[in-house]
């Protein structure tokens, strides 16, 4: 089973997406479609956003990203996102300079508080981009997080 699943993921393409869509059907109440392989495998944030149908997101000041200006350790960068846009249904996070920028999408039930705290790996200094879906439209903002080597080499 594991082997099959992995080779399906590696193979990608229509068959892989079908298989993933199949597993997604087992999950009750998912707000959106299957784990979006083409978005997760995109090498740039904009390609990932396009794959998610968020390519035309407009800048917004109503999204608040709280993350350190300088990360103490790139292996664990704490990121809080709050959306003040009414009717927010999801928050997506992209770490632009990571090899695969798309980090995840967080879906909220209608009427809940659009907030998420996550901790991500960052390979280097990069903007952390957030896209919010609300009322069928997409909004975006970004915050730069510096990643230094630091520490003693010993």
């Amino acid at each position: 089973m594991q082997q099959t699943r992995r080779s399906v993921i590696k193979a990608g393409g229509a068959l892989g997406l079908l298989a993933l869509a199949g597993t997604a059907l087992l999950k009750p109440g998912r707000a959106h479609a299957a784990w979006n392989q083409s978005a997760f495998e995109a090498k740039s944030a904009i390609d990932a956003m396009k794959a998610l149908g968020m390519g035309n997101a407009e800048e917004s000041k109503d999204i608040v990203i709280r993350a350190p200006d300088i990360a103490e350790n790139g292996a664990v960068v704490p990121i809080d996102v709050t959306s003040n846009i009414p009717g927010t249904t999801s928050i997506s996070v992209f770490i632009e300079k990571n090899p695969f920028p798309y980090t995840g999408t967080f879906d909220f039930a209608a009427g809940s508080v659009p907030f998420v705290h996550l901790r991500a790996k960052m390979g280097e200094t990069s903007p952390v981009r957030v896209v919010v879906a609300a009322g069928g439209k997409h909004y975006t903002t970004a915050k730069e997080v510096k990643v230094t080597i630091g520490g003693c080499g010993g």
């Binding site: 230094t148 080597i149 630091g150 003693c152 080499g153 010993g154």
Partner: protein
Amino acid sequence: MKIGTAVILAAATAILAACAALQSSPRDEALALMQRDFHAQGIAGMDRLKEDPVQAACNKYNDNPPADLAKKLQGEQYAGVKWPADGKLLGDWKSGEKIAQNGRGMAWSDKGGVGGSCYNCHQIDPATTAFGTIGPSLSQFAKLRGYGTDIQRYAYSKIYNAKAYSICSQMPRFGHAGALTEQQMKDITALLMDPASPVNR
């Protein structure tokens, strides 16, 4: 540190007085524990626990040995500096910067000497922002002191053996300990001394 040890010595004396000769001193106890509870690992053998004359003097006098002893030991350490056979003290400052940034070497996880760990303790090239403050800033090193042969010799020998100048300095003796090669020490000397090095710009 000094006051603490004075207290410890006083305490040790008190214990000795109270328990006669039965009780060993804290130092003897510590030495016995270390001898028993450390073990050789990789390149770090048990011989590393043994004090050489410099370490012995610094341990005994809490990094402040009597002036005549300090002077004698410093002279011995300076006499042990091995100068480059070709008479050249300056290598490549760019390579020196890399060696200065590298904090590895001489640990049990290393195969031998690797880098100079210079930035662990010193500011050097002002553009390198991750630097420690255990030692003084070395930026503007030659600009402040001059570019002459005497300063070159000072820089090289200080890297080779810091104890030649200050017997209980916290700086390792990189040449004496075999932690850096002659070429590496020349390169670091160049980082400090070369007029083209960012240190002096």
